[in-house]
Point group: C2
Chain length 320, copies 2
Amino acid sequence: MNKIVQCVPNFSEGRDLEKVERIVSGLKNQEGFNLVSYEPDGDYNRTVVTLLGNPEKIIDALVDFTKVVIDEIDMNVQSGEHPRMGAIDVIPFIPIENVTMDECVVYANTVAKKINEAYNIPIFMYAEAANQKIRVKLPNIRKGEFEGMKTKIKEDKWAPDYGTQEIHPTFGVIGVGARIPLVAYNIDLNTTDIDVAKNIAKAIRNSSGGFTYIQAGPAMLNERGHVQVTMNILDYKKNPIYRIFETVKMEAKRYHVEVTNSELVGLAPKDALKRSIKYYLQVNNIEYNKDMTLDEITKYSIEYLKFRDFDRLKIIESNI
Amino acid sequence: MNKIVQCVPNFSEGRDLEKVERIVSGLKNQEGFNLVSYEPDGDYNRTVVTLLGNPEKIIDALVDFTKVVIDEIDMNVQSGEHPRMGAIDVIPFIPIENVTMDECVVYANTVAKKINEAYNIPIFMYAEAANQKIRVKLPNIRKGEFEGMKTKIKEDKWAPDYGTQEIHPTFGVIGVGARIPLVAYNIDLNTTDIDVAKNIAKAIRNSSGGFTYIQAGPAMLNERGHVQVTMNILDYKKNPIYRIFETVKMEAKRYHVEVTNSELVGLAPKDALKRSIKYYLQVNNIEYNKDMTLDEITKYSIEYLKFRDFDRLKIIESNI
């Protein structure tokens, strides 16, 4: 059985699109994995790359990729709205098929060691790959960013997991980790009243007392002409999509606002969708088939979760 | 405007009912506050007392009450299922009317100082009255209980907020705090399948990824012949009753189980009920009157939250 991981390196260039092309070119048409997408963001000055496939092949490609980034990006002259501590800021590994989280931690350590040895870039291990509790949450490591890391890394507490207590002068440092897949998810409300989205976001998000694995906020979609509750689901097993969708519908009732649609941003694993489809099939007394096809998952997701702009390619496993 | 607080001292006797009567007798028919209830529990060997009224009058009564408890309870021979660190284990103050949380913190410190000075009992301040972060959660302080406190209190870290680092030899120590009202709340399911209650409890409780201020578990009610989701709502402002009730109904649908009723255990403040009534009135397009009477609150709670065994005396403010 083939082992499949998702790997989502983020690098600190999102404005110079020719440079972005040069950086990602070595990831295209490679044997053993797919470059599923790369999304440069000008405001953030950052590009999110999604790779899917064989972990060893991805690891080897990342070592070469790092060399290109060293040549293309100088963090001393880089700025953008997204916090960052390196020219490649993070490299998270995500288990998809026939791979455990523990194996992803091993892959993360393997690529960290290789990159450090090849280019003398210090590496911090985070999330499931963290070696210290304070390093589980990436923002703790990244606090101070590229500029602050020059002195922070010299503190005993912030010695890197790989490498010396000296940042790479133009590249900075990298956070390498392992985690379960995030689901980036938005729910459409047929109103332009941003306060409704704000109140509903507060009801569901962890920081206001809501569900533990939900980060949420309001957003106004000017072109579409309505508001959204926009969120990250950090653990779709403990906070399944349907539970959030139904809770938002329940809260929306008091404002006499309709939940018209919802949407995935980026990809989601089929497991995240199947868990929610199972709820609706049970409610509707329809037998749940755990081996349903990707097309069935697509159909049910549109029917029950009211996904818009959705097709089977948004399911991670469609891209394997 | 009269200041009204609720105060809920817990003492460590729940089996010898004559002793319980002697202990609470000094709290009956006092000027300035009501003894709303006292509920001895044999398994716990503990009695929960609910006082309601003028804070200064309650403080004075608690000092005398402590003297009676010193004479009646020897912790060296006490045992029960509930963890405890003193003959009076805790004294929490809860703001009800015309009183702020900050004032309750002052009342808590006032009674702590008086009791310590009168009887040389060490006092730990907890919850909103805590002086250190680690003391916010009572279980951190109480860990080790009466027996372990003899040595724990001598650690620098566990020096009491009032008194010396030496427990009272027969009484132990007291935790004195200030907090918002807890709502103890149960939701009835018309099934005898305890797994359904277990799964639903997991969906809503903080420890499994649910709402931040919900502690919940399953319970089988043998006499009534059905299961319940039983819970404490630690902050009814951030996790209002209706949101939990509606989420439980939503989860129950997948099991084709009906939510038949719900019930309060002990008292709840009218604010907790009004916040939920407001939701249902908005949903039903009925005008919400913030000055509704206690009888209206009672009627709507039964109608919308399906409270059983409920009357207006279960609203704290009915007992003022």
